[in-house]
């Protein structure tokens, strides 16, 4: 990663300050729904950053990130359902609404799923990899659409958020700060990760897999590890989203959700950590704003589609890349 221009650091800090002050600003503006919108932005940012670890840093075009996102979400909802009915899942796993139990469980589920999908998918490359990851995500989509006990097509409502000792997560502002803290922690971990030996090897594999193999690197293992990390991140985001929305449905697993996350990464700038965050905030904000234009809201996808085409055609390196060029 090359030097970040000083002015960009200032923008980063200003953005962080804005995020920290957002709930107060929302109260000042008399618009508390900004907090839930911002929470969704941050959760998508988390999903996009985790996807970028394989997509941008690993150079693996994964079209199935929704699988992990969705499995994280369903973990929360299913554990809630079993807590509600006091019937253990598979007869052994008790339900739970404890944040500190549910979230690690979701990440575990995401990690195990990613290990399984990755172990198989990583035997292929290029377009085949893109398609096989899509296939696995679609399989999960159809599986969850068909499970009537968990809402099938209709999805299911999770009547309340998970509980965190000492925090009242039902309060949107508290939940927002928790998500912000988790995102910052995840960015820190990801930053350490990409700067580590592991990250450099991963970059080497992306640039020239054969050369890495020649110097004795077992690229498959590295790619699989990156895939599992990304899967856990995706599941974490999904679990937070179900807590935020108090609702889960197979939409979370549909291929367009994977597409949306890819858009966030590319829009913001793949292969960077801050890019996906910018991409997620921009796309989520844009969809929300466009959706409110009277009479045209239902055609908002036209603007999103056009933006997508323009960014891919002309915006090398995404919004973040453009910012960096402007400010250098």
């Amino acid at each position: 990663m090359d030097e970040t221009p000083a002015s960009l650091r200032w923008i980063g800090l200003a953005l962080l300050a804005l995020l920290l002050a957002l709930p107060s600003l929302a109260t000042l503006a008399g618009d508390p729904a900004w907090v839930s919108l911002a929470t969704r932005m941050l959760i998508y940012a988390l999903a996009a950053v985790s996807l970028d670890i394989i997509l941008g840093y690993g150079g693996l075009a994964c079209f199935g990130h929704a699988a992990f996102y969705g499995i994280g979400g369903y973990t929360v909802a299913i554990l809630y359902r079993h807590w509600q009915t006091s019937e253990p899942l598979f007869g052994v796993i008790p339900g739970s609404t404890q944040f500190l139990v549910v979230i690690p469980a979701a990440m575990l589920a995401g990690g195990v799923l990613a290990a399984a999908i990755g172990a198989l998918s990583l035997r292929t490359a290029g377009v085949q990899f893109l398609m096989i990851t899509l296939a696995f995500a679609q399989m999960l989509f159809f599986l969850f659409s068909s499970l009537s006990q968990y809402g099938g097509n209709d999805g299911m409502t999770v009547r309340r958020r998970n509980e965190f000792p000492g925090l009242d997560l039902r309060d949107d502002t508290v939940f927002y700060y928790l998500v912000l803290a988790i995102l910052l922690a995840a960015l820190f971990v990801a930053h350490r990760l990409v700067g580590s030996r592991f990250g450099r090897v991963l970059g080497g594999i992306r640039q020239n897999e054969r050369r890495m193999a020649a110097i004795g690197v077992q690229s498959y293992r590295y790619k699989l590890a990156a895939f599992v990390i990304a899967g856990m991140g995706g599941a974490l985001a999904g679990a937070l989203m179900v807590n935020q929305a108090r609702f889960v449905s197979p939409d979370m697993l549909f291929w367009t959700k994977s597409g949306e996350m890819m858009i966030m990464v590319i829009l913001g700038g793949a292969g960077t950590l801050i890019g996906p965050v910018i991409g997620a905030i921009t796309l989520t904000g844009l969809e929300d704003l466009l959706g409110r234009i009277p009479g045209w809201g239902e055609h908002k996808l036209f603007a999103i589609g056009l933006l997508l085409v323009l960014v891919v055609l002309f915006g090398r390196g995404g919004l973040y890349g453009w910012l960096r060029r402007r400010l250098r």
Binding site: A14, L25, A29, G152, N153, D154, F247, D251, L301
Partner: protein, 387 residues
């Protein structure tokens, strides 16, 4: 610092819009399915609702209205987000518009729990009609099961002894088959729940032919229903095995999209554009003139919802939820159905009619009311509702 400035600018600009609207007219949040293949259903409801407002010069019952329309994209999650903003940011107390039951099930509790009113112009899912009924929740269309009970009774009247039931596999589809079976006195030879995204029904046609029922009952709303009817005809079944259904099985848009092959279908309906009462004639003419198409049942429901709200607003004069709820419960408004009554659970108690597609002299297709099949029919969940 341009980015930070524009972000801040956007935040404050939107805040300012919110503040400026604070003393403005009564706000009504209209969340509906407007995009995607099923988008036309929501548009019909919206168009009729807006027509009602236009005729009063942007008012309902003499009270100025600001209608905020948003699209749920048939995604319950998206609907929840919109309603969240309606309630918190816009401080809206009156919400309406939802087409699909799965969206309704996820948003109605949010609205009424937050002390708002929800007026349903379409979905009437079973799980909100019984024990979970609410004093702030009013349905102006039908209870989902009751709608399809009309088809069951119609099948009885037409003398069918065995039926093959098919419905899309979601909340309203399950309610539909349950409703049909409740009143149908014959035997169900087989029931099939098709996938929501299914386009090809060849496999189902083969099973219907093999089962040889007296009648086929089916419920597939919107585009999937069109594909179903076309393929039913092409499989040569339209002439051999009669079909019954309820209003959404063949609305005017479906009829126009499938054409003459639908002739011969039997539909149970609570309202039809040919109803001979002053309100209905007036509405149909106004809608025709404004939008240049025949209003569908959905449009009719949107209109009645607006009329009911207008009547209540006229008495209350503002958006005091408790007063409005008390007024709405009286259901004292002029319905295009020629009368309107609520049951215990604030779902309609109404007459149902046998409707058939016919070809007009000019070659266009229309739906024609044949006879009454049920009088003052409520639903089977009202008794569980303690209001």
């Amino acid at each position: 610092m341009t980015l930070a400035r524009s972000v801040l600018g956007a935040v404050f600009a939107l805040g300012a819009i919110g503040a400026a609207q604070a003393q403005a007219p009564v706000k009504i949040g209209f969340v509906s399915t407007l995009s995607g293949p099923a988008g036309y259903l929501g548009q019909d409801i919206r168009d009729a609702f807006q027509l009602a407002m236009e005729r009063e010069g942007g008012k309902l019952g003499g009270v100025p209205i600001q209608l905020i329309v948003e699209d749920d994209g048939l995604k319950p999650g998206q609907g929840k987000q919109i309603v969240d903003r309606f309630l918190k940011t816009e401080r809206i107390k009156i919400v309406t518009g939802v087409v699909f039951s799965n969206v309704a099930v996820s948003i109605v509790p949010d609205v009424v729990d937050a002390g708002g009113l929800y007026l349903s112009p379409n979905a009437g899912p079973s799980n909100l009609a019984g024990k979970e009924c609410h004093k702030n929740y009013f349905v102006y269309s039908w209870q989902n099961d009751a709608l399809h009970e009309s088809a069951g009774e119609l099948a009885n009247k037409l003398g069918f002894k065995t039926a093959f039931a098919l419905a899309a596999n979601y909340q309203a589809g399950k309610d539909a088959v349950a409703g049909f079976k409740r009143l149908f006195k014959g035997a169900i030879v087989e029931e099939i729940y098709t996938k929501m995204d299914q386009t090809d029904f060849a496999a189902e046609m083969a099973r219907i032919r093999a089962a040889k029922p007296d009648v086929v009952y089916q419920f597939h709303p919107g585009g999937i229903g069109i594909a179903f009817l076309k393929q039913y005809h092409q499989a040569g079944l339209m002439g051999t095995i009669p079909m019954v259904g309820a209003e959404p099985t063949l609305d005017i848009a479906t009829l126009n999209a499938v054409g003459e092959i639908a002739l011969g279908l039997n539909i149970g309906a609570k309202w039809n554009a040919d109803f001979d009462n002053a309100e209905s004639r007036d509405f149909v003419a106004a809608f025709q003139k404004r939008y240049n198409r025949t209003p569908s049942v959905y449009a009719g429901q949107g209109w009645d919802t607006a009329q009911a709200l207008a009547a209540a607003l006229k008495v209350v004069g503002g958006d005091d939820v408790n007063k409005l709820a008390a007024e709405l419960r009286k259901a004292d408004f002029k319905s295009i159905r020629g009368g309107f009554k609520f049951g215990q659970n604030q779902h309609p108690v109404q007459d149902w009619y046998h409707v058939q597609p016919v070809k007009n002299a000019d070659g266009t297709l229309a739906l024609k009311t044949v006879s009454k099949i049920l009088s003052g029919h409520g639903d089977s969940f009202a008794k569980d509702c303690k209001l």
